[in-house]
């Protein structure tokens, strides 16, 4: 498979403060993103996700390391012409209207004059901002800014889209809509690189993920490889059985109005519980096997560090 983005041994130090003090922010990041996949970049606050993305875009210059976009050096205009970028907490020229803003940026690409209007209309429709096309950006809500940010990142029909927390600050419906757009981008053959905290969202759409903690990649691979599908435990919600009868089958988590939520670790015990409930003419309200989630993995990784 062709590689869209390749980063090798990226280092960055910031000198901050009145009396400059050096802090290592990135300590040798290496990762590669295949063409056509959705790549999730995970990490706790302050891990260096945004810093990595800024390096890729040439907004800050790494101390050491190699970055290649489609085989071009990342600073070349060819690389940038194929890239789209949505910053975290997007903020744009607030005196422009949505369509004026997109028009300004479209001039920075070599989009033909005739095609611009068409393109802008199309993008506004994709992100669902058509009714606000002539509204000044200062009057936009957080979610609307996120959408217009998404629209501007797609102006050049990029092959690679870098999204820094694209789902931040959105309500559940907004999240779903943006997620749908991201999946559609993948269907169009584009590569998506996104950073996020919201693990369920990443879990739902990403093909591969990298986890960054404290400026270092601690794990990288397909979700399948990272998360074992082994069942960790099963949660059974039941009633009609005395608590003490369940004692050596599993631990009860909560007990309310005669209903017991039981956590069963051994698989063979699940059968036994069900038999017991049946014999006592009790009732099973729900039975949920819990597999490992990205969250478990993530929390584990961060704790280890």
């Amino acid at each position: 498979m062709a590689i869209a983005l390749n980063i090798e041994d990226l280092h960055k130090t910031f000198s901050l403060g009145f009396i400059p003090k050096k802090t290592k922010i990135l300590k040798g990041i290496s990762l590669s993103v295949n063409q056509g996949e959705i790549f999730g970049y995970l990490g706790p606050n302050g891990a260096g996700k945004t810093t990595t993305i800024k390096c890729i875009l040439g907004l800050i210059f790494p101390d050491k390391g190699k970055i290649e976009l489609f085989g071009h050096s990342y600073l070349s205009l060819q690389a940038k012409a194929q890239t789209g970028f949505l910053p975290e907490n997007p903020y744009f020229y607030d005196h422009l209207t949505a369509s004026e803003f997109l028009y300004f940026y479209s001039q920075l690409f070599l989009i033909k004059k005739k095609e611009r209007e068409e393109k802008i209309k199309h993008l506004l429709q994709i992100v669902g901002l058509e009714p606000s096309a002539d509204l000044q950006l200062r009057k936009f809500s957080r979610g609307m800014l996120q959408r217009i940010g998404m629209a501007q990142s797609l102006l050049n029909d990029p092959s690679l889209v870098l999204l820094d927390e694209p789902l931040g600050g959105l309500d559940p419906i907004g999240r779903k809509e943006i997620r749908d757009i991201i999946v559609k981008l993948k269907e169009e053959g584009k590569t998506v690189f996104l950073s996020s905290h919201i693990l369920q969202d990443i879990e739902m759409i990403c093909d591969r993920v990298a986890i960054i903690v404290n400026g270092e990649i601690v794990n990288q691979g397909t979700l399948k490889d990272l998360i074992s599908e082994k069942i960790l435990f099963t949660e059974i919600d039941l009633s009609g059985v005395e608590e003490k009868e369940l004692k050596n089958l599993g631990e009860s988590v909560t007990k309310k109005a005669g209903r017991i939520l039981l956590r069963v670790s051994k698989e063979e015990n699940v059968e036994k519980v069900l038999e017991l409930v049946q014999s006592k003419k009790g009732k099973v309200h729900s039975l949920i096997p819990r597999t490992e989630t990205l969250e478990d993995l993530f929390v584990g990784m961060v704790k280890q560090k």
Binding site: L57, L77, P87, Y93, F104, Y105, Q107, L108
Partner: protein, 254 residues
């Protein structure tokens, strides 16, 4: 093409700035005030109007260049709009030049407005449109271009307030550089003289752009001086822009 897009965007943003109109307002008051001064003068009244008018154009034009110019780059960085802008396929020099030309365009429009008021005022006195004033104004414009580049240079690495102070110091020293020259002649050879001489070499002589006296008094000016002043302005501006670019090129937008 890309520079043009950024320049027009900058113009659009700059002419929305209320500071611009505040300065314009004061400039118009000052030009009008010259009429009052003229009434109090015995002798050539028009001369006073021309003198005060041209000085106002230079001073208020410089104020516009400084107060808006220093905010230009800083605002983009502060509000983080520069992140998406620079992630587009543009070079950093294109961004900086776009900002520069956008502001120069803004100043051109403002200078034009002030000049029209100024020429109209003279017209009421002499019933002639004094076109030769435009020569003096043209050189004021060149001076404003230079000040713009200086404001831009400072705004690449410091806050608007500091940059404004630096730029205004540049303007004041630039107009009193002749004082430095007399100082050098009077001072005894030694360290002090060397410093004064170095300063004199490095700082621009903004009086090169001042043709007020000659134009107002209708004195002849040799073409070589015109040419020298024009080239001086253009090269000094290019020089300052180059330094600004060298700083801007390596800047991290954390």
């Amino acid at each position: 093409m890309k520079i043009r897009a950024i320049a027009f965007h900058t113009l659009k943003e700059a002419i929305r700035d209320r500071i611009l109109y505040l300065i314009l307002f004061f400039a118009v008051i000052c030009i009008g005030f010259s009429r009052l001064l003229a009434l109090l003068t015995i002798g050539d009244r028009v001369k006073v109007i021309k003198d005060v008018g041209l000085s106002s154009l230079s001073l208020f034009g410089a104020l516009m260049a400084i107060l808006i110019g220093t905010g230009l780059v800083y605002k983009e960085i502060d509000k983080k709009t520069i992140y998406t802008l620079l992630s587009k396929p543009i070079h950093r020099y294109q961004f900086l030049l776009g900002k520069f030309f956008g502001l120069v365009l803004t100043l051109f429009i403002m200078l034009l407005l002030m000049s029209i008021i100024f020429l109209a005022l003279i017209f009421f006195h002499t019933f002639k449109i004094e076109w030769q004033m435009l020569i003096a104004i043209l050189y004021i414009f060149l001076e404003l271009c230079l000040i713009t580049s200086v404001a831009l240079l400072f705004s690449c690495f410091s806050t608007p307030i500091l940059s404004s102070i630096f730029s205004f110091a540049f303007y004041l020293i630039g107009h009193t550089a002749w004082g430095l020259e007399t100082l050098i002649i009077k001072i005894k050879p030694g360290f002090g003289k060397a410093v004064a001489q170095a300063l004199y070499q490095f700082l621009p002589d903004l009086e090169n752009f001042n043709f007020k006296t000659e134009i107002v008094l209708n004195l002849p000016i040799p073409p070589s001086i015109f040419l020298f002043s024009a080239l001086y302005g253009i090269f000094y501006t290019l020089f300052v822009l180059t330094i600004a670019l060298l700083i801007f090129r390596k800047k991290d937008f954390i």
